[in-house]
Symmetry: C2
Subunit: 390 residues, 2 copies
């Protein structure tokens, strides 16, 4: 009631004054922009991550969209149609894809332990899995007589309604070659797990490019166009690229590195968590977690160890219902394995294999990079086992 | 002139009596069946491996084919056409694909050092790269009114003319889902680098499925059919599968593992070779080698180290002329890097990254498996540097 005038003024100028209400369960890695991951134990409980627990990766303030005024703008060789939300949802059939979306920085906190990096200090839960529904990008383009197989361009560019202080929007692109391979699988989503897309996840529209890094899944999608070059945005040109561990901020050349699109194979133990105390005198442990690979490559094996990687057991995979080469959803897994006899502390490890027999690298050090992206080494969780009471 | 009768009889009964003449440069890992790799230094010299140096992986005796009598037999829902070599080469347009073919056991000798495995003791040269030309499988099927996108089956099976003592042929299959993705890129090859397919490489026909393990590139191709199940051959069902390092011959269950099709990212240093003595007082070293990934994933970065993996340099990639997601040829690379000051011995290391940002695992131990397949850890070569003479 008696809010000080100064604070009210400050608040009115705050570009973050219109942020959505969020679940108190989310663990923020930054407040403005808002970035947060769910408690990792909860991740492995459900194949479809509930919308309010889906990790949030915002680069800028969340736009406030008036749905009546909103249009999606296409810049095509055949014209520049602007579609209202109503047109999009009513004129085109609803298509769905169940896909995991992962931040390039997922599991970055493990890299930080090797050497400092620039980036949000994500744990293992900057990944989530949902059923996205909306309009097929390919069907939309066909409607406007654009054939993705013959269009003369090298990239397809997506821009959001989220803008930087200078007014320029968040933007991303993928190679047209990749868009052609995915074709009917790229969705302009207006629904997430059967509900309207939440504001934090792009309301009213988000492009969903399955198998590809989160940074290209442009939220608050406003504009789509073809281009001879990549999106000129900071996030396409000066971020979200990989480097070797000898590259530092003095010698890095972003122009020489390929933008991250498809992601490599990854897995994590979600339960138990690092530092957890198991039951007194426990002789075995139940591990739960996720495994996923980019490019639609399904997970064919998950190996778990209760002795730091000396001996391995195969986890039981929960089939994700997709086919081996068009597997965009994650694979949850579970394993009951024996603990080393008499040990009071031990390290649990997981590593996954995808259908192309890609494996995860052994060590974080070997893949360390200055931005802390692509942190997909074997995932290790240290636990203690109190001795059984006599 | 005076060959002993006994020996002559033995020779006449020898199923290997009709083997082709081979280059004396090839280094055999077994004589009967013949398996051999070229000297590894020669591999990195040419983008297209000369036919007589292309690694040879035979599972059985090399068939002797009379080209006039030969037919390729298709068992289709629309009929069972048998095509003569002349029909194949004259009725259909010649299509080409440049692809690296790699044995699942390439670099197995490194696994043997960790723990014994069953398999031929391949070095780093059980991989080669060639331009294959022939008939597009898809165009051939279309000619017989078979649409690979709608055919009701789960696998496409290939059988060779090479046969076991019981008369059953070498056979392999790939999932139809994979064949659909590759579509026009699968070639029934009758030429290799512009010459008729050599006998060791499948004369007169070999199926070329780019991005996929050598074992499925059936040579002396005789028969193609669709099936609800995988090829029942030993090599499809009881070989060429991956396992974790705790799986041994007592607990292995081949039925539970997925057959190897697409291969993971790999690289190797071809020059210098392990144990090589560099120039006296050398301050830098020139490394040459190959990098490749399965599934058409192009190589985007090759990191080399002259200090056992402590510091890394980017190698210069020689573009293979293919696109990032349809990159079936290998990528040769080269790097001049400084040697550690004053060191008289050091370890050179290479690791590659593919367009999906898949990386090679750090250690051989982490991927060890009882068959010694998929040996794609960082490649390490030890060299000595004699001190400069004063
Ligand atoms: Mo991200
Ligand atoms: Mo092989």
């Amino acid at each position: 009631k008696e809010v000080p005038a100064k604070s009210a003024t400050k608040s009115a100028n705050d570009p973050y004054k219109d942020e959505p209400i969020r679940s108190p369960l989310l663990i923020p890695s930054s407040e403005k922009p808002f970035n947060a991951e769910p408690p990792v134990q909860m991740l492995a409980e459900k194949f479809l991550t509930p919308n309010d627990l889906f990790y949030v990766r915002n680069h800028l303030p969340v736009p406030c969209v008036c749905i009546e005024d909103f249009t999606l703008d296409l810049a095509l060789s055949t014209g520049k149609p602007s579609l209202t939300f109503k047109e999009l949802t009513q004129k085109f059939p609803k298509r769905s894809v169940t896909a995991a979306i992962q931040c390039a920085g997922n599991r970055r906190s493990e890299m930080v332990k090797v050497k400092p990096v620039k980036g949000l200090n994500w744990g293992s839960a900057a990944i989530s899995n949902a059923k996205f529904s909306g309009v097929s990008l390919n069907e939309l383009l066909k409607h406007y007589n654009v054939d993705i197989d013959t269009v003369r361009a090298k990239y397809i560019v997506f821009e959001g309604l989220d803008t930087q202080p200078d007014g320029s929007p968040y933007g991303a692109s993928i190679p047209l070659e990749l868009a052609r391979m995915l074709k009917d699988e790229i969705i302009i989503a207006y629904e997430m797990n059967g509900e309207p897309l939440p504001r934090d996840h792009g309301y009213p529209l988000r492009i969903i490019i399955p198998g590809v890094v989160g940074a290209r899944q442009v939220k608050w999608l406003k504009k789509i166009y073809f281009s001879p070059e990549e999106s000129t945005s900071h996030w396409q040109r000066r971020d979200y690229k990989g480097f070797n561990s000898s590259t530092d901020w003095h010698n890095v050349d972003f122009d020489k590195s390929v933008s991250i699109s498809q992601l490599p194979v990854i897995s994590a133990i979600c339960d138990p968590v690092d530092g957890q105390e198991l039951e007194e005198g426990a002789e075995e442990v139940t591990l739960k977690g996720y495994a996923w690979s980019g490019g639609g490559r399904g997970i064919i094996r998950v190996d778990v160890s209760a002795d730091g990687g000396e001996t391995w057991h195969e986890a039981t995979l929960k089939p994700n219902g997709q086919t081996p080469y068009h597997s965009y959803a994650w694979t949850l897994w579970e394993a009951d394995i024996p603990l080393p006899e008499g040990a009071t502390q031990t390290q649990l490890v997981v590593k996954a294999v995808d259908v192309s027999y890609n494996v995860q690298p052994d060590s974080v050090a070997g893949i360390w990079n200055l931005r802390g992206c692509l942190s997909n080494a074997w995932h290790r969780v240290n636990v203690t086992v109190p001795p059984a009471r006599v």
